[in-house]
Amino acid sequence: MEFGLTDDQKMMQDSVNRTLERVSPLERVRKAAGHEPYAPDVLKVLVELGAPGILIPEEFGGLGLTLLDAALASETLGRHVAPVPFVASSVMAPLALIGAGSDAQKARYLPRLAAGEAIAGVAVSEQSSGAREKAGISAKAGKLSGKAMFVLDFGGADIFIVADKFGGLHLVDAKSKGLEKTPLNTIDATRAIGELNFDAVEAEALSSGNPAATLDRMIDAGRIMFAADALGAGGRMIEKAVAYAKERKQFGRVIGSFQAVKHMCAEMIAELEPCRSLIWYAAYAFDEFPDQSRRMAAHAKAHTSDVGTFVARTATEVHGGMGFTDLLGLHYWFKRIGFDRQALGGPEKVRHDAAVAQGWVGN
């Protein structure tokens, strides 16, 4: 009975953290944000650490680790608002291939994803969050038609994993004929998402194993990753707020000595630390207790989103007017948390999924 990280996990997280401190400081994030689909130099260093292959079995060139390991990586990426693909390309797409790909598909794609030679976008928003603007994909005789919105890790993607209206999974080459790609600008310029329009586009079906169950697993894993990302971003915002409050002077004393300010910081950390415990459990349950996975992923996502939103605005307020400026760059974390909250389903939607998973209400 041990509820905590192993020494290996702590070392791995520490090493990713120190690497990102070096290669992805705020100046690098600024350069990438909104200008590049992702920062290739940062991704290259993460590939050296094995991050894209974190869940991919060793026989396909990955590290073959657990979802908790992936959550620790995701937390660290959020901590540094790293402008690189991860949740879709390194977590959801590998899970799609592992769960529903044929042996040939696994052998063809997993090594490339693990080596960072290919980036995979994932189009499941209509399934995870509900369809907006009548989006949805129909599959007919190996060809896809329709619209998929809010495609994750869209920028620079070489392939896309696409869910159709009935939960079937398909793999599409990004250069396919009839595929129209439109980037979508979000508040979070560190992530490049987009929209795909399909006009009878050739697709490979991912139809081995159990595609419907695999889609659920992809969504659960993605939700845990976004929760972990918000945990990392929120934790960093608290550190920044505390550091600022210890330096900034008004009325002849540091503002961190005013209880009004101290209590804001205490409330932030008191709310955020239990999220860490919840996310660890959700990630562990994903591998060990799959019957709890849907509920725990939903709770981790919804609760961390709510706490993250509170931390993002409170940490900004502790910084006063400076927090509101572009100069300080705090807004990159604020916006990252805003993205994490909506992607793959906002709090109300995922809580509803948790209710359905417990049989409290029909779908």
């Binding site: 210890k246 205490a266 415990s277 919804a302 609760h303 109300e348 809580r351 409290w360």
Partner: protein
């Protein structure tokens, strides 16, 4: 991460289950004698006073938080009451073990464990709440005795207590933290008056205790004269641990789910109302987070790691969550939720309202939420203390 128990612990769990099957019928039914008999039985089997040395009346096992957890889990599962847990057992005994003389340990620990001495705690005063160290109840030396004058407040179980562990000012000229002593004395001593303190729940969960020329033996001091503040802090550490009980939140959540599934409005289950359901789900996430946070602290303790700020938030968050759970139950019940005190149609014996109010007392007591936030920000985040106000 590994949430399974090793074979040693599974064997232990079986032992506890076997005990529950064999002795469950002897569980007390509300009488004090029955409770004492049960306590004795539990100590003999190592399910109460587990880590207290045998020479002082305990079971004498090595500390093992996992076994303690298994005992609690299995007792809850079997619907059996745990051992006695008054302030004497949970706060005074650990303090005596840490700082008492050999004579005090021999004299007080065993009868306390067996429920033969019931204790109350004399800390807070009307003028000394959060600023406890400013307390003014005086103890003046006179021969072999101290003579005590003053008043305590928020003294639970004072009416039933045989003894009190009490903070008094013995060195009025010393700085406030260095002038306090920690005394043990009988509540039957002449000059002690106990008045029940009725709270907003309508019950007297607390008392006021008045001391008028109360003469008590000097030898029953714990620690040195003037060191009482530091002795008390050893005890408060045990109290804060007691106040943040995550099991309670889990129990309340189960009751809330049942309520949502069984209560109806206009013939529809409350669970089918999406607004109520969303509130329930928000709370369920918090209950889970609190539960796993407890496991994380447990593991840190087992490994001898300091969990830092993660530990300091427990009292604040635990009390708040319990309060919110009760608040939600009342809202879900609506007009039924405001019924109280033996009314027809009353749900859950009125306990949701009662808890909602009493929890507010717990949020304030044992270090207010605001004091907790000071502790979290100062000790956990390294933020500076509020500068002292200049003397007028």
């Amino acid at each position: 991460m590994d949430l399974s128990y090793s074979p040693e612990y599974e064997v232990f769990r079986e032992e506890v289950r076997a005990f529950a099957r064999t002795f469950g019928s002897r569980a007390p039914r509300g009488t004090m004698d029955g409770t004492r008999e049960w306590q004795k039985l539990l100590i003999e089997h190592g399910y109460a006073a587990r880590t207290i040395p045998r020479e002082y009346g305990g079971f004498g096992a090595e500390p093992d938080v996992l076994k303690s957890r298994i005992i609690a889990e299995e007792f809850i599962a079997a619907g059996l009451p745990m051992g006695m847990a008054g302030q004497g057992i949970s706060m005074l005994v650990p303090t005596l073990l840490e700082l008492g003389t050999e004579e005090q340990k021999k004299k007080f620990i065993k009868p306390t464990l067996l429920g033969e001495i019931i204790w109350c705690q004399g800390y807070s005063e009307p003028g000394s709440g959060s600023d406890l160290a400013s307390l003014t109840t005086r103890a003046v030396e006179d021969g072999d005795d101290f003579v005590i004058n003053g008043q305590k407040i928020w003294t639970s179980t004072a009416a039933q207590a045989d003894m009190i562990f009490c903070l008094v000012r013995t060195e009025p000229n010393a700085p406030k933290h260095e002038g306090i002593s920690y005394l043990l004395f009988s509540m039957k001593t002449p000059g002690i008056e106990v008045r029940p303190l009725v709270t907003m729940t309508g019950r007297a969960e607390f008392n006021e205790v008045f001391f008028t020329d109360v003469r008590v033996p000097k030898k029953d001091i714990v620690g040195q004269r003037g060191q009482g503040w530091f002795v008390a802090n050893a005890t408060l550490k045990h109290e804060r641990r007691m106040l943040g009980d995550p099991n309670q939140a889990g129990t309340r959540m189960r009751a809330l789910i049942e309520l949502m599934q069984n209560e109806e409005i206009d013939g529809h289950r409350l669970m089918d109302n999406p607004v109520f359901r969303d509130r329930l789900l928000k709370l369920q996430a918090r209950v889970h987070a609190t539960e796993y946070h407890g496991l994380r602290l447990l593991t840190a303790g087992l490994k001898g790691e300091d969990p830092g700020v993660a530990r300091l938030i427990v009292k604040l968050m635990g009390c708040e969550l319990n309060h919110q759970l009760a608040a939600f139950a009342i809202d879900a019940l609506g007009e039924l939720g405001m019924l109280y005190s033996g009314s027809p149609h009353l749900r859950n014996n009125g306990n949701w309202q009662s808890s909602y109010m009493f929890d507010l007392g717990l949020i304030i007591g044992g270090g207010t939420a605001q004091i907790q936030k000071n502790i979290i920000s100062e000790r956990g985040l390294g933020m500076p203390r509020e500068p002292k106000a200049a003397k007028a």
